[in-house]
């Protein structure tokens, strides 16, 4: 494909994204239905890399996701260089292009896992930093985002420190698994000696079954009531008046949680009990007082929880009150399925990922409402962390965290 053709293709994609954002309505508490589900939208082939915000937040979730936490082992003088390299590689990988013969004096520059012409394939690389990056090592202690801290242990957690925290979180999503793999392999190769993997997990988005929002591995549609890009300023993006450091404007907070699902146990639970725990019908995803997944549950007319129990997951997570409206989060999770547990059970679960403007006001408020919900017997959070997602890269010269260092 010639460069000219490719450029015009990018333009077309960009226009499509804009159109989507405009057509999406604002979801108010009083709305009769939740916003159109992002998950049924196809991620475009080339997701625009530059902009006020990073891609991979409101981007319709691609089918494959890789979450990789790194620790920085470079010294203070080299941290900015690491972010420059990451930006350069992410810029290339998310745009696609030909790989090149480096001559006879080097091993091949590219693995060719995606063939000799690297397709963008809907790739997004979303780069975030953990609280530990702001310790004494890099002289950044005074520049930490206001609400960034190490993820605490919640009452129902069973945390394994090997699966927690990290200086950096790379969320790599693409239309296909091999594309996400290729990107991670390329990024690690170009940054060897500067950052080192701490843990990583691959996940997948399930297609609509048979329609609507993706189902989690408990069989329930998950992420139905998600904010849309129109809610970004209110719920997701850090604004300039939030008391945050100026460099953080346009960024967002990312929460990643690894949640094991005890699916064998779950499959031994009656359908009625399963549905009461979630508060939704398993087949359609509709709230138990409704008929369709995007209907808003009418808690006001069910004050004692006769239809949707007061401790149902959807009711505790999002009570749909004016007071809790500001605590909504953008969920962008991936299912995972990776082997066998020591007890012979399937090792499967959810990579919970959410974006929010304020971790305390949103994620933690939601998480605390969910303490001891009935569902906790069937899930086991064991890892994850809090991260701050850098603002977007403005142009070809920009790099992650440029404003953090100036």
């Amino acid at each position: 494909m010639s460069s000219v053709q490719r450029r015009s293709f990018i333009k077309g994609v960009t226009a499509g994204v804009t159109g989507t954002a405009v057509s999406a309505g604002i979801v108010a508490v009083a709305a009769r239905s939740d916003a159109a589900p992002a998950v049924t939208e196809q991620a475009p082939d080339i997701v625009q890399f530059h902009g006020a915000h990073q891609a991979g937040v409101f981007t319709p979730p691609q089918r494959a996701g890789a979450f990789a936490a790194f620790d920085v082992i470079a010294g203070k003088a080299d941290l900015a260089g690491l972010f420059r390299v990451l930006a350069g590689r992410a810029r290339f990988l998310t745009s696609g292009g030909a790989t090149v013969d480096t001559g006879v004096g080097d091993p091949p520059a590219d693995s060719d896992v995606l063939g000799p012409f690297v397709p963008a394939d809907g790739l997004t690389v979303t780069v975030s930093v953990g609280a530990s990056l702001f310790d004494q090592r890099f002289g950044l202690a005074g520049r930490k985002p206001l609400k960034l801290a190490a993820m605490p242990t919640f009452p129902n957690d069973t945390l394994d420190q090997a699966w927690c925290h990290g200086d950096l979180m790379l969320q790599i999503c693409a239309n296909n698994v091999d594309t996400a793999h290729h990107a991670l392999r390329d990024l690690t190769r170009h940054t060897r000696g500067a950052m080192q993997l701490r843990y990583r997990m691959n996940g997948f988005q399930s297609p609509p079954r048979p329609s609507g929002t993706q189902r989690n591995l408990m069989g329930f549609k998950d992420g139905i009531a998600n904010p849309t890009a129109a809610d970004g300023g209110k719920l997701v993006w850090v604004g300039s008046s939030a008391g945050e450091p100026a460099w953080a404007t346009g960024g967002t907070y990312q929460v990643v949680r690894f949640i094991r699902m005890l699916v064998e146990f779950w499959d031994r639970v009656s359908l009625a009990e399963q549905e009461l725990m979630f508060g939704r019908k398993r087949d359609s995803g509709a709230p138990l007082d409704g008929a369709e997944e995007h209907e808003v549950p009418k808690y006001a007319s069910d004050p004692k929880g006769a239809v949707i129990p007061l401790d149902a997951h959807i009711r505790m997570a999002n009570p749909r009150t004016a007071e809790t409206d500001g605590s909504r989060i953008l969920r962008r999770g991936y299912n995972y399925d990776r082997g066998v547990d020591l007890n012979g059970n399937l090792d499967v679960g959810l990579i919970f990922a959410s974006f929010q403007q304020d971790i305390t006001r949103q994620f933690e408020a939601t998480q605390k409402r969910l303490i001891d919900e009935p569902l906790v017997d069937y899930i086991q959070p064991y890892g994850g962390g809090y991260f701050f997602t850098f603002p977007g890269l403005a142009d070809a010269k920009d790099w992650y965290g440029r404003t953090l260092f100036t």
């Binding site: 082992i73 260089g81 030909a98 090149v100 001559g103 520059a109 090997a162 000696g193 950052m195 701490r198």
Partner: protein, 426 residues
Amino acid sequence: MSETGASGGTPDGDIPDGDTDTPDGETPVPARDGRIRRQRVIGAALVLVVAGAAGWFAVGHGRATAAAHHNIEITPTGCAPGWQPAAGSAQSFVIVNKSGRTGEIYLLDTNGGVVGEIEGLGPGVQRTMSVPLANGVYKWLCVMTDMPVRASGQGRVTGSTAPAVEAVLPVSEKDLAAPVAAYQAYVAPKLADLLRQVGTLRGAVQAGDVATARSDWLAAQSTWEQVGAAYGSFEDLGDAIGGLPHGLPGGVTDADFTGLHRIEFGLWHNEKPASLLPVVDKLAADVTELRGKLPQLTIDPNDLSLRAHEILEDALRDHLTGSTDQGSGAAFAETYADLQGTRVVFEELAALVTARRPELPAQARDQMNTLEVALLANRTDGRWLGLSAAPLANRQRVNGALGALLETLAAVPDLLEIRNASQATK
């Protein structure tokens, strides 16, 4: 932060002259020194050695937009008769071997540097070669078995905007003779050291002093690692001395599991020291035999440059995963010894490397120093931390420093491969 080679458009945020910012962020960057190499973050120095994304684009566009195919024929009497390159950057050649022989064809620049090669080209075989060429003069060299080495006429590339592929001056077997001799001269006294250390170990084993035997074992094991017997050099004797139970039907109880790791297994698994004496004696006999054979052992010169990165590839694969550990947990000590062996091999080759890529040796030495510091953080008062006892941060620093070094060293065998192009009459 220092920077060499072409910029990927990211370092320091400034873009060299000649760039064009395009709306979708593509920034073709002509390489300043005419090289295209991958962008790397290199250890503490974080040298960004390359073209990276932007450079790839520049090449990619060239290749994607043009590239008419040109037939290059090897005949019984000629090498690419009548060839002419296309105008512009992208070149795509179809090589047709009509000589009836097997051999190699090289594309050389005016300095005799190789910019493209096809090796093992059989009779009647047709292969393609795509290579972006910078402006300049090039010729082909055909090196077919039982035929005189023939060069083509010169072809001139004009109107190219591509950065040149990095040319590599071919290395001959003769070029590697001195490094190979130096390596053999290094190994001989190391084996003498090893034999002496095995004798010391025998004393401790015979005395039933397990603690002393363990430290004697580590001394002997470290010497063996320093020899750099990567990937099956020394063949059966190498296995007898440093072999692992992996792949043996009986595993650790297999009769063929002998040598240093067998002794390690016994010393860390409560075996009676006396029962290890025959193993120690066999080890001494095997080392003695290897010493005797060493002068006759021919070292493939290509193996030496492979060893420049494979000794440490072994360390990463075997030691730092714990997969070869027979109980000692000595991964850091063994890797440290491997680093010492690598330094020796690398320095023997450094002059040849410098002639082909001047900045590489300094970069490799910096990274070796970084790795050494990271390893030594796990040694206190002469005692090494076990792999599993080391904090995650320590392991990350070792793994990361080693990974960065290996990316650099990986070029050594490609740069120093013996190429028949060295037969060119210059």
